[in-house]
Amino acid sequence: MKKVDARDLIGGLALVAIGVFAALYASSNYQVGTVAHMGPGFFPAALGWILAAVGAVIVLIAFRAPIHALKPPPFELRPFLSVVFAVAVFGLLVERLGLIPTTIVTVAVASVAERSFRLRKALILGVILAVLAWLIFTVGLQMTLPAFASLD
């Protein structure tokens, strides 16, 4: 029985797109030069075309491959989104609020990933980790980040 392997199809097409884009972008924006005197565009352009070719091979295989033995992990939206938001929130807040408030918010947002999430537990953990982070990074490693920053 033959099936289309959707994962390889998506991955392969994405690689073809990235490769073609990189090759065209490099050869139109940077000097390519000759083989003996390569410009900054030569290597990325060549690499882009090779990547696109390998991507195309993956697409071809996707149409011929039998069902794979290794199962992918099931996709869960909740942990994905909460971890992504936690990192984003850290980036947005860290220079505006300072280390301690940012830590509490980041930990709380990350904790949502878990099915048995409880806000009170997450906040307690956030406070503990905030003190720990402050001790390690500000006191121990002399990082210049203030514990609290004023909103401006």
Binding site: R7, D8, I10, G11, L15, I18, G19, A22, Y25, Y30, Q31, V35, A36, H37, M38, P40, F42, F43, P44, L47, L51, V54, G55, I58, I61, P66, I67, H68, A69, L70, P72, P73, P79, F80, V83, V84, A86, V87, A88, F90, G91, V94, E95, T103, T106, A110, S111, A113, E114, R115, K121, A122, L125, G126, A133, F137, L141, M143, T144, L145
Partner: protein
């Protein structure tokens, strides 16, 4: 030869046995153990998590600490495998097979003790070989021109991307993508900004720390924060309970010798890390044993052999990394990345230009292994207790420390968004079953590879014939091609056999 060996040893001892460097080594080993013992967190994650801490250390101290982290995390993974029956990380999966049954029989302490002995023996073998062969290889490598480096790098890259579990073609694709990502930033030859799309922060390229942490730590957290967790087998770990019997010693001796030989050989080859040699060692012990039926039910040989094998390989893996500047796997690539961050160009000039760093680092490997014994035999109870911390408290901490660590390297929020982007990329790649390791390797080696490639063709006036005319270059390229074709062939065969190609680790997990 012997006098040179002793000279190097004393130089190394002089450098490594200072109070500060001993402290860096201890901190590295301790933190490595701490991260490595947690399920799912292996040496790659441990090194990426702790890379930022070494940013502001002196070069020797930073490398000593990172090597300590590597040993510690590698070791801790095995502890987790034995006590929980869940592989701490892929390379430690083999310890589950016999270690966990031993723990269930109440012999967990003995399993851990023998693992410690085997690991110390294996490491010592690896380190001695490293000290003997590194100067020889360096002397040889000083004659290498750019074409040799180019070919050897290609061999390393192709080996690491094809000798995996998955499709070799997808591995090569990821390696190419890594090379492409490595181009982002300023071109050293012309000063042109490439692929930075007007973003000033990208003029130095993507931050290695942010990228490694995103691909490994963030991806791992997203993947596993809802996994079911088991708690360790309850048992006593007093020193007396850990003492192997005379029978245990007798049975472990041969496997340790064979394992360390096997590991030392495979460790020095590119692309063979991640437990391949340990599985081979396990298979050999099972085949040569007088009682193969005990394997998988708590045979001590199943720990002693693979553990010695793994640690001997760790030592010899440093040989090509430190002498040629060509890493065989992602961990070694991260080590090279750390060296570059410290402003030291990897290659044979490391050993000639920075002999104190080189020999100090090697002696510190040995000191680190002594710390491991101290930390793991009398203090094993501490790690067992650590294993019972619920993951619900650990994973937000990992996310947090990843963010702070990335931010702290350059005090720049942009790096946090790079972390986020690579976390997402790593997770997408996991879903699509693309391997992350070749991508990182390509990223780290990319700029060097391009440099050597351009120089080769500049010297040959644009003629590709140089790649077949120089003997070492030609041999390395032929091996690369052979390896690629062989792995594609082997993979096609595995595909048609379907499930038969699965490794025992998959079953154990």
């Amino acid at each position: 030869m012997l006098t040179a060996f002793i000279d190097h040893l004393s130089l190394g001892i002089h450098e490594a046995v200072t109070l500060t460097n001993l402290w860096y080594c201890f901190v590295g080993v301790f933190l490595g153990c701490l991260v490595g013992v947690l399920p799912g967190l292996g040496s790659l994650i441990a090194i990426s998590l702790l890379l930022p801490i070494t940013y502001h250390l002196p070069a020797t101290g930073a490398m000593i600490m990172l090597a300590g982290v590597y040993f510690g995390a590698d070791y801790g993974g095995g502890t987790c495998s034995i006590l929980l029956g869940v592989p701490g990380h892929a390379a430690a999966a083999i310890d589950v097979l016999d270690g966990y049954p031993m723990a269930k029989q109440g012999r967990g302490g003995i399993a851990l003790f023998m693992k410690c002995v085997a690991s110390f023996w294996g490491s010592s073998v690896g380190i001695v070989l490293l000290m003997l062969f590194a100067p020889l290889l360096t002397a040889w490598a000083l004659n290498f021109g750019p074409s040799e480096y180019c070919a050897l790098m290609l061999l390393g890259l192709v080996a690491a991307s094809t000798v995996g579990q998955g499709s070799p073609i997808k591995g090569v694709a990821m390696m190419l993508l890594g090379l492409l990502l490595g181009i982002v930033g300023t071109d050293v030859n012309s000063g042109v900004q490439r692929f930075n799309f007007g973003v000033a922060e990208l003029s130095d390229g993507f931050s290695l720390v942010a990228m490694a942490m995103g691909l490994f730590a963030i991806t791992e957290v997203i993947k596993s924060c809802n996994d079911v967790r088991v708690s360790p087998e309850q048992q006593s770990f007093s020193l007396r309970d850990q003492m192997p019997t005379r029978e245990d010693w007798r049975r472990s001796f041969g496997p340790m010798l064979r394992g360390s030989g096997l590991g030392a050989f495979f460790g020095s080859l590119p692309g063979t890390s991640g437990g391949m040699a340990t599985f081979l060692s396990y298979a050999i012990e099972k085949r040569t044993s007088k009682h193969p039926e005990q394997f998988g039910k708590g045979a001590i040989e199943g720990i002693a052999g693979p553990e010695a094998c793994n640690n001997a390989g760790v030592g010899t893996a440093f040989i090509p990394t430190l002498t040629l500047g060509i890493p065989g796997d992602a961990i070694m690539a991260l080590m090279l990345g750390a060296l570059t961050i410290q402003g030291i160009q990897p290659g044979p000039q490391v050993i000639t230009g920075h002999p104190d760093l080189f020999w100090g680092l090697i002696v510190s490997f040995w000191i680190g292994n002594i710390f491991l014994v101290i930390l793991n035999i009398p203090l094993i109870g501490m790690w067992v207790r650590l294993l019972s911390i619920p993951y619900r408290m650990l994973f937000p901490a990992i996310v947090l420390f990843t963010c702070i660590g990335v931010y702290s390297t350059q005090n720049n929020v942009f790096d946090v968004y790079v972390l986020l982007a690579f976390g997402v990329l790593g997770f997408v790649m996991l879903l699509l079953r693309f391997e992350v390791v070749p991508l990182l390797l390509g990223f780290i080696l990319g700029p060097m590879f391009e440099e050597y490639f351009r120089r080769t063709l500049l010297l040959s006036r644009g003629s590709f014939a140089v790649f077949v005319q120089r003997p070492i270059t030609a041999v390395a390229l032929a091996v690369t091609l052979g390896l690629f074709l062989w792995s594609v062939w082997a993979w096609t065969k595995r595909q048609s056999k379907g499930r038969a190609g699965r490794q025992p680790a998959a079953k154990a997990a």
